[in-house]
């Protein structure tokens, strides 16, 4: 859906679903998931359907991700850090 980004000098290495990828500094975790080509970022606990980032500005909560083992993080509100582990969230948060 999005064009490949040219490599920038300030790129940050993150792990999306275990795969190492470089994303621009200042990107959010949700943006990193999109860059990595993740089709969906979570499955809805209510309907079990796959969902993906919709608003990218903190309103819709569709981009809930497991970030560094912390579930239910709003991916579009979290800026990437080097080594960040970004994973899909399946259903409700696990305890």
């Amino acid at each position: 859906m999005f064009q490949k980004l040219p490599e920038t000098a300030d790129a940050v290495l993150v792990h999306v679903e275990g795969r190492a990828i470089r994303v621009p500094a200042g990107a959010t975790a949700a943006a990193a998931a999109l860059i990595a080509g993740l089709v969906s970022t979570r499955t809805s606990p209510a309907t079990n359907e796959p969902r993906a980032p919709y608003c990218m500005m903190g309103v819709c909560f569709e981009c809930l991700l497991v970030i560094d083992d912390e579930p239910s993080q709003q991916g579009c509100m979290v800026t990437v850090r080097p080594g960040m582990r970004i994973n899909q969230q399946h259903g409700a948060r696990q305890p």
Binding site: S40, T47, R51, C55, M56, C60, E62
Partner: protein
């Protein structure tokens, strides 16, 4: 604990920045809180960074205008709380924030809510399918990291932001498969009744014509008079369907970007118990304020698009007016000084606001958006369709808050932000009463979900206090 500050501004967009600068010039102590790491809000999102990386100019002159605001704000001496989320505001001016790890309390003698707009939810068939996003979402990706749509991405909807984004993508070398324009031809007849506003707002209209010309020149397919749009796919977007003159067409799509205008983000003012009114021209609720942004809750002021849609330039004017209102309320200036300082701001406001009535009429949302068909999902979080809402009405449900008990609509993680406007619309339609009478969801704390650890960290504040 921080403060007490004379003014705590929530939101670092044009309204919040302009208010902070004006308040500092009047000698007030100011704190500004924003959930993003840098000032700009959504309209000027990441503008300092984009400028530093040499990307700002390509995003347009309107975007670059934000640089003058961020620079003035940085030099104002306001205390900055970036990367902080507000999770509770008390009517007495106490603001509770978290940095994601621990909470803290920031006290204000007055609080200015300047949290901006959100895109109107575009509840169409298939809008929950991965691959469907808003135009605003795609624009944020462009502003912050320079990412552009690849082939097969369609844009559907109406309004200035949609055309602006499409033109911006084309200019930057991105791709747009086509634009499905849902603005009604009937709306064009409203041009005559807004002729004066159109004349005064000619710069805005010329800009709009410029976007259209650029899209035509680039050979972008622009389908006009689109009556309905549907996203097609199961676990991933596969295509888009649209109807013109009763005839359906379809195309393969890798992405679909939706936009049907913006509405005030009223979550915070609702939670605060401020009175809100239905704005019939803009088809949305907005907090009731005087011309300086004072609400009916004494310590709470409002500025910018969260108080009614006016756009970035109007938002900055309203931010300055609110700062004058706060200074007068705190007795730092008298009302004649306030009015003297307000005069040039009001003139500027008028210039930028002149075109609004015409824009509202031209890009009025179509009826099916406010009250969609039965099979369309209204509440994304809980998967509640318009049909289930109508069914609840037939069982005796009479309002949005009762609707929660009937259907769980509005009870998911977004707390009704995404479904609230549509729930009001469907109820108004089903009950045959105006939206103002239907009302809205009651909003309860916390404004954003927070962990028990973040909440517990407050105990230390209480002890220290």
């Amino acid at each position: 604990m921080s403060g007490p500050f004379d003014l705590v501004v929530i939101g670092g967009g044009p309204a919040g920045m302009a208010a902070a600068v004006q308040a500092r010039q009047l000698g007030l102590s100011v704190a500004l809180i924003d959930e993003q790491p840098a000032p700009g809000g959504q309209i000027y999102r990441g503008v300092d960074r984009a400028e530093a990386q040499g990307r700002a100019a390509a995003l347009g002159a309107d975007y670059c205008h934000g640089l003058s605001l961020t620079q003035a704000f940085r030099a104002s001496g306001a205390t900055e709380f970036f990367s902080h989320q507000v999770w509770q505001v008390e009517p007495d001016g106490r603001v509770f924030v978290t940095d994601g790890k621990a909470s803290q309390l920031i006290e204000g003698r007055r609080v200015l809510v300047a949290v901006g707009a959100m895109e109107r939810p575009v509840a169409i068939p298939g809008w929950t399918i991965p691959g469907v996003m808003t135009v605003g979402a795609a624009q944020i990706l462009h502003k912050t990291i320079g990412i552009l749509p690849d082939q097969g991405v369609w844009i559907a909807g109406s309004g200035p932001l949609m055309l602006y984004y499409a033109a911006e993508v084309v200019a930057a070398g991105g791709r747009v498969a086509g634009i499905l324009d849902t603005a009604s031809h009937a709306n064009l007849s409203t041009f005559r009744s807004h002729a004066t506003g159109a004349l005064r707002g000619w710069r805005y209209l010329a800009k709009g014509m410029g976007y259209l010309a650029r899209l035509r020149l680039a050979g972008i397919r622009h389908v006009k008079g689109v009556e309905a749009v549907e996203a097609v796919g199961d676990s991933q977007l596969e295509g888009v369907r649209w109807r013109v003159g009763g005839q359906w067409s379809e195309a393969i799509a890798t992405g679909l970007l939706l936009h049907e205008g913006v509405i005030p983000n009223t979550h915070m003012t609702s939670a605060l118990g401020c009175s809100h009114d239905w704005n019939e021209a803009q088809r949305c609720f907005q907090p009731r304020t005087d011309e300086f942004g004072a609400t009916d809750v004494e310590a709470i002021f409002v500025a910018g698009d969260c108080g009614g849609i006016g756009g970035a330039r109007v938002a900055a004017c309203r931010g300055r007016l609110a700062a004058l209102g706060v200074a007068a309320a705190l007795g730092r200036i008298d009302t004649s000084e306030r009015d003297r300082l307000a005069k040039p701001v009001r003139a500027e406001y008028g210039e930028h606001d002149a075109v609004r009535g015409l824009l509202d009429a031209l890009f009025a949302p179509r009826a099916e958006l406010l009250s969609p068909a039965d099979d369309v999902i209204v509440c994304r979080c809980e998967g509640v369709s318009a049909g289930r809402i109508r069914e609840a009405v037939s069982l005796g449900c009479r309002g949005p808050n009762q609707m929660k008990a009937f259907t769980r609509c509005g009870m998911g993680p977004c707390q009704g932000r995404m479904c609230g406007p549509t729930v009001t619309g469907v109820l108004a339609d089903a009950l045959g009463v105006p939206p103002a009478e239907v009302g809205r969801f009651r909003i309860r704390p916390p404004l954003k979900p927070l962990s028990l650890g973040e909440l517990a960290s407050l105990a230390d504040i209480e002890r220290a206090g």
